[in-house]
Symmetry: C2
Subunit: 334 residues, 2 copies
Amino acid sequence: MSQLSQRDLNEIYAFAVNLGKEAGKMLMDAAQLRMGEGNATREQRGHIEKESAVDLVTETDEDIEAFIKKEIAKTYPSHKFVGEETYSKGATRDYLIDDSPTWCVDPLDGTVNYIHLFPMFCVSIAFIYESKPLIGLINAPFLNQFFSSCSGRGAWLNETQALPLIRNPIPPMPENAPKGCVFSCEWGKDRRDIPDGNMQRKVESFLNMAAEIGGRQGKGGMVHGVRSLGSATLDLAYIAMGAFDIWWEGGCWEWDVAAGIAILQEAGGLITSANPPEDHATASIEKVRLGSRLYLAIRPAGPSSTESGRQGQERTVREVWRRVRNLDYSRPGT
Amino acid sequence: MSQLSQRDLNEIYAFAVNLGKEAGKMLMDAAQLRMGEGNATREQRGHIEKESAVDLVTETDEDIEAFIKKEIAKTYPSHKFVGEETYSKGATRDYLIDDSPTWCVDPLDGTVNYIHLFPMFCVSIAFIYESKPLIGLINAPFLNQFFSSCSGRGAWLNETQALPLIRNPIPPMPENAPKGCVFSCEWGKDRRDIPDGNMQRKVESFLNMAAEIGGRQGKGGMVHGVRSLGSATLDLAYIAMGAFDIWWEGGCWEWDVAAGIAILQEAGGLITSANPPEDHATASIEKVRLGSRLYLAIRPAGPSSTESGRQGQERTVREVWRRVRNLDYSRPGT
């Protein structure tokens, strides 16, 4: 493939939307089976009772990824495929995405939520070309929320509501951000209780963002609310929606964020690195590196009387950087 | 009213279900108006642009409470009414619920979420008799989730799916709880940065629940996930659903929890005080006091080979109490 036209992209988007819907349906069917609903046969139910929830979920995860991979291979045999399940079983932890047309897929994001049947779980499918996420699909079937975007064609909730939801006009970032902002963050899996470990640094950062103005040696940000959903993908979707203002996280992988980044950027959001540069007040705000495992996202913002939307977003990035610690998540090859 | 029969209760329930549906629709209509959707006239849109989101939300809050209050007064003129909006404007902070038939209503729980249009907001309506929440309705219209319960008739999601969702059989509490549990908690509004203040005690408790086993001087609980939704009412709904295992919170009020308690108890959950008694390993586990502002809820649990469901829940309560700090939320008259 030499160059993608908008028409090529439109075709791929139509294919991807269908794929996202079918994969979401598979996920919800599997959930309903665990609830004892749907068309489970006695044999299937026996199977459910014998196995642990975790084994069942792994099976669902693998089945859905295999389905998505097969459908893509049928329609676009030349495209590359990077999926969470495939990657986990592979021999390398390298970042595998280059300039070729590539699909980056998480068949089930929010696995812990899915195991417990808390509705915040989803399928996440991204199409990436020349290292840019151009198409994103996030299907959260238990919430009846289906997010989609295609470069040049906007970002959508349930194919009908343009993102961000409040858009006539899109509100500027609050004047004293992070005050007035909803801050989304995750505790994650690294729970080692070591001095200055990731968990300690995260909690210190959360506290700075939450504390009253003037508190925490001047770092108190008095955010409007602190939210933790247990799904990086849905965190990004809600940033694109404008429901969350700031998402700060380390430790997730490219398949957790690729579709969310596509949707967020198409909606007008900003995404950069979670880790503050040394000169955080003046450093240029670099584009996110997809494989960096360190993300800071700001919602779409309109202009105020004193600054452009982008200026408001950048100001917010710096105010977050001033309050958060560097996190330590490395990977080979980056 | 001398004594309520099941038939009386059934009638009140049917009335309350309709009321919950209509109030949820009002809430979603107001949200859609803010999204620039629905049937807003040019005049209404002008109104929206002139006012701040917070004023608009206060108006919605008051309108919905007034509607619910009026409908109840029409059908049950002898019943008492305690609503969040009415209470906030009243002269007293006393706990106003006694043995009379009383409706306890929060027209909009998750106000911050609603302002930002994050879907985790809801209407909450409880009917209380002889100080017991007997009927509960929680309508989260942007999630298409409507929770309802009536004493003796079960607890339901969208009137069709019995709660908890996984029930054939209902899983026992994990053997090493809180390990394996989803822990739900809120940062709340008290963000004063004072030594040993509520925010500090909360974060210390969150850290104990989250840290690896053996960490935090033996208090590490290694919960499966930490979640913060910004709605006490929906936290309780998801405990009743079995999606969350443990909810621990201080600072909310009776209208935030009354409907959730009705639904949780009908689903088989346990609710007691957030604050650990001194002899937390052996103290009797007291019934929650509705006006106490301190809550610890455990999901419905089935028996294991070694203990009853209730024993598993009580064991979990003690394991939480061992890890959390006392919170300081007082009110007059209790």
